[in-house]
Symmetry: none
Subunit: 242 residues, 2 copies
């Protein structure tokens, strides 16, 4: 009579407000350092109580997007992390240069046979053993990407051990005789987050991700790493160098 089984599990009001403000910020309507409208004004705009706006703002503060000062207002803390993609792609260096505090958590390192795509990208025979590792990247303590990258073991013997000991791609490659490497190719596309990715990135299943696929080569143009990275779309802006 009154209700049908098709009940609407609506998103919380404060959550919708947070999303709206997050969108305004990421679209540049409020630039970094800008003062957001006062809580009272926002409450009026959205037609809700001030406490509901405060809940939304608290969420944005928790995410690091907004910083509040009592008596002064709420200010946009920073734009999404700029992540330059060019000939030299170094996670730690890039974020340090942007004034961020980078962090990396390796979830797994394993040896396994190469898939067809991996073998092709690394220019090795299909089914050859390689070293794969995947994990999470953080900026200022907030997860911004999940990655999976593989190395040809035949070309880089001991890379798996070096990776485990150093926890750094750059250092591990240096350990096995690759002092420098450059990005040979990068492909970008947008996909939806699956459950696992959403969990790691603290977002919702289906939220947009920016997927980057790239191959790094050594000084003699031999592929040394084939990596895929899924960036949280609302936290990262990739910038392309000429």
């Amino acid at each position: 009579m009154s209700n049908s089984p098709a009940k609407t599990r609506r998103t919380a009001i404060w959550s919708a407000i947070a999303t709206a403000l997050r969108g305004d910020i990421s679209e540049g309507r409020y630039a970094p350092g800008d003062k957001l409208p006062t809580e009272a004004v926002l409450a009026e705009r959205f037609g809700v109580n001030r406490h509901t706006v405060r809940h939304a703002l608290a969420k944005l503060v928790e995410e690091g997007l907004v910083r509040t000062r009592r008596g002064a207002g709420a200010f946009v803390a920073a734009l999404p992390t700029d992540y330059p993609i060019g000939r030299r792609v170094r996670f730690h260096e890039n974020l340090l240069a942007a004034g961020r505090r980078p962090e990396k958590r390796i979830l797994q390192i394993e040896r396994r046979a190469a898939t067809i795509g991996e073998a092709e990208a690394l220019a090795i025979p299909k089914g050859e053993t390689l070293c794969a590792h995947h994990g999470l990247s953080f900026s200022d303590g907030r997860p911004i990407a999940v990655f999976e990258s593989v190395f040809p073991l035949s070309r880089l013997p001991g890379i798996d051990i070096a990776l485990e000991e150093t926890g750094s791609v750059t250092e591990a490659l240096a350990c096995v005789g690759v002092p420098d490497y450059t990005r040979a190719s990068t492909r970008l596309t947008a996909v939806r987050a699956n459950a696992t990715q959403a969990l790691h990135l603290q977002m919702r299943e289906g939220d947009p991700l920016l997927r980057s696929t790239g191959v790094n080569v050594d000084g003699e143009m031999r592929p040394v790493e084939y990596g895929r990275t899924w960036f949280a779309g609302d936290r990262v802006t990739l910038t392309l160098e000429s």
Copy 2:
């Protein structure tokens, strides 16, 4: 317990309560916009459980007679606003003629490239710069619609500034040399409200909206505005002139 338990009840308690409240409303005891007593008070007054009162209120909400807002209360719903759609569509004029108090709140004005659909509707090259603005429409202080409309900047230089200064489409167009305009086409369809729309219109996510897509042209039949409006389905009745 207080009511005769041995007798067979022809009508359910909640139904009787709904009828009583419906009568109070139709007799003017509660005028449109008035706040009904709280569920606790009504439960006390009718000598029943709060849930039984809620069942009655749910029925009235379903009928469209009552609107509830969590934390605020239950209110007698205002009558739907008649909104004529014809050759001349003027938000303010239409509502003033209907004896309402119109209001408009522009949320954003920006310049950006035209999408394919917008370029087609305005008969301009794809990607050309246009002026877009979106916001909210009110009738007697209640939000009844969200809108987004775009203008071709090449054909109407300065329209964005005029819009910002006047806050009125009709006046802004007059400022840039379009003294009069008429509706060339209108398309209507029903859609579900997303979280943002629901928030602005103070309704629930998934509630039905009436979407109107229209193109306005100047005296020489050149498109000057391409607008989309989402009306709250329970607050507006569109009326078509012959």
